[in-house]
């Protein structure tokens, strides 16, 4: 790319200057096209998202995915999922082992953030065997980020 068309005065002015026209190789334009596609795609999706989803009240569910006995107690792994386009920060998830209307054991955890349409996992640990009781896992509270 040692442009022969480069005019002498400019050469001395700035060694950094990029030579116009003939010196731009094909590959530079290919790179430019890829970059343009990526940037436009990103912006386009965000615009599409902004137009199609409306911020509402967070709609959060939590469900147990498996239970395993360990030395420290019975670990119940759960997955919390946000079905809305609003972020819940400081999300409290509570698990209860119930027998009829009385609560045998309770456990609680805070998830820092549950972003829109995302899921996060965690675990609740009970000393009692969850298999012998009714297990309820539910989101309890959140704040705006």
């Amino acid at each position: 790319m040692n442009a022969p068309t480069k005019s002498p005065p400019r050469k001395s002015e700035s060694s950094r200057q990029i030579h116009p026209g003939s010196t731009t190789s094909k590959w530079e334009w290919v790179a430019a096209a890829c970059g343009l596609l990526l940037v436009l795609g990103t912006l386009g999706y965000i615009v599409y998202y902004a137009l199609t989803t409306e911020a509402k009240i967070p709609d959060i569910t939590a469900e147990a995915i498996r239970t395993e006995p360990t030395r420290g107690g019975h670990v119940v792994q759960f997955r919390a999922r946000n079905h809305s386009s609003t972020t819940a920060a400081g999300l409290q998830i509570t698990g209860e082992l119930r027998q009829g209307s009385s609560v045998v054991e309770r456990s609680e955890i805070t998830l820092d953030y549950l972003p829109p349409f995302s899921e996060r996992e965690g675990g609740l640990i009970f000393q009692e065997d969850p298999a012998r009781y009714e297990l309820r896992i539910a989101p309890k509270a959140y704040r705006e980020p």
Binding site: S15, A32, G35, L36, Y45, I46, P115, S118
Partner: protein, 283 residues
């Protein structure tokens, strides 16, 4: 004792190397200090996915080797020289990270090896980039700047590479912090788009500034669109890809949907774009 710079005497060369090594330590300390004092970096050190840490370390070696061409200790000619330079930088950064983290009691005797290695490996990444840059920057003071600029004037891929290094460097500083995800949650989609546009405008302003250093008159410029497409847009695309890679490495995308991935990448891309654009000015 007054051996000239051109002399090939062994003591002179060794002294040069030790001065370079001292600069490497200083550079890795200056550049890695903000990260050494970030709690998230300590925590990520032990919970980072092992394979992602391996990939990060493997990425580091070619990165440093190429970087040594632009700002290494000497005008690196061969590939071997570049690789040697890269490993010297890694060694300096690792020693520095171990000393500082040990004094901070972030690593201690009796900790599991996985935890110590994870913490040190993570800090070695920014530290070794800093070591490599410092050896070039600090040693460059002697030579006339005009002379040096001609020697190092990078090609188009070289310019893009330098922009990438700038983005990685600044991105590493902020990617592990909670603020990136917090900001992407706080900001609505329109703010995210405004931030992306602001990043593009600022990048272009820097690109423009580099191409016309201090010259008010703009005769014979390569054209707005040519500069904008070839440098600003491509550079910003690289910045976004690097931001997404860093966030993925730090496990910020687990269970995330596309909007979250793009939003966090744009937020991290803001400092990344400034870093990329500034890298062309500084390096």
């Amino acid at each position: 004792m007054t051996t000239g710079a051109g002399s090939r005497a062994n003591p002179g060369r060794e002294r040069q190397f030790f001065i370079g090594l001292a600069r490497a330590f200083a550079g890795s300390l200056i550049f890695a200090l903000p990260m050494l004092m970030t709690m998230e970096m300590w925590w990520i050190g032990f919970w980072i996915d092992e394979w992602r840490l391996v990939i990060l370390t493997l990425v580091l070696i070619p990165l440093l080797t190429v970087l040594s061409r632009f700002s290494g200790f000497k005008q690196t000619d061969g590939l071997v020289d570049g690789i040697v330079d890269a490993f010297v930088a890694i060694a300096a950064a690792a020693v520095m990270a171990i000393v500082v983290l040990f004094i901070f009691e972030v690593i201690r005797f009796g900790m599991p090896a996985r935890e110590i290695i994870g913490k040190v490996a993570l800090q070695t990444f920014p530290g070794s980039i800093g070591a490599m840059l410092a050896r070039g920057q600090l040693s460059g003071e002697q030579q006339g700047s005009q002379d040096e600029e001609i020697a190092q004037d990078p090609s188009y891929p070289g310019e893009l590479f330098l922009m990438g290094v700038g983005a990685i460097f600044i991105g590493l500083n902020v990617a592990p912090t909670e603020e990136i995800v917090l900001l992407s949650y706080m900001m609505g989609p329109w703010q995210v788009i405004a931030l992306a546009l602001l990043s593009l405008i600022l990048m272009h302003a820097f690109v423009y500034a580099v191409n016309f250093p201090g010259q008010p008159q703009l005769a014979e410029d390569p054209g707005f669109w040519s500069l904008f497409m070839r440098f600003t847009v491509v550079g910003y695309a690289i910045v976004l890809l690097i931001s997404a890679y860093l966030l993925w490495t730090f496990g910020r995308f687990e269970g995330a949907d596309l909007e979250e991935v793009l939003g966090a990448s744009i937020v991290l891309g803001f400092p990344g774009a400034i870093g990329a654009a500034a890298a062309r000015l500084i390096l």
